[in-house]
Subunit: 143 residues, 2 copies
Amino acid sequence: MISCDDKKVDIKSESEKLMQLSRDWSLTAATGNVDSIISYWADDAVILTPGAPPIRGISSIRDYVAGAVNTPGFKISWVPLSADVSESGDMGYIFEENEVTMNDSSGKPSTTYNKGITIWKKQSDGNWKNVVDAWNARPAPEK
Amino acid sequence: MISCDDKKVDIKSESEKLMQLSRDWSLTAATGNVDSIISYWADDAVILTPGAPPIRGISSIRDYVAGAVNTPGFKISWVPLSADVSESGDMGYIFEENEVTMNDSSGKPSTTYNKGITIWKKQSDGNWKNVVDAWNARPAPEK
């Protein structure tokens, strides 16, 4: 007899997968390659960026990312802090901290610091994709 | 034979439960009753509010909410836009829009508009509790 336990998800292992995906994605973001960067989002993903309406769907996300990587002095990087996954292993989320640098109006690099939450769904092919990406400002870390 | 399908979760019904919880919580927020308001958060919930470090755990959340409801002219309300729930029915999230009014320095009411994402986990007693509550600014709606 096949029991339901055979389908049991290893939450810890799936959470670590999400943490690693977050790290990989940050390295990918540093390349500035738009196709590679947007491959982490699901087709119906939503970005909640401060001060703007939601950015819905991969086509709008592509435009947003292309605009960002073409901004003078643009750099972004982030680290995952912790992750959690549902019992069914199809939904999870990650707490992250990021920093974003752009040139200010005088051409000098200016960095802002954010904290964020990303929500992920496992797709039918078994790959995790980001479905919600939201952040807001945090105080600058002490140097 | 008991099949795994007997445990199948009604995603639509659970999503609607989350939508209704969000609406109920907004009405509760209007009462200003701190105990009632914080009863929607899990003990280990995290709030990501713009410009501040994360607010972690129900004790810090209580202090935060008490400070908010005692702010002159403070009012908050929100509406859920859509919700999704994991296959196992133990994790879900809601897109929301809120508006927050406080008196400005001259004592006049000033309203800010936000969009947010809340993540929920079903507790061992079967009740959904909020575990992550994050928002950032959206443009003011046209009147």
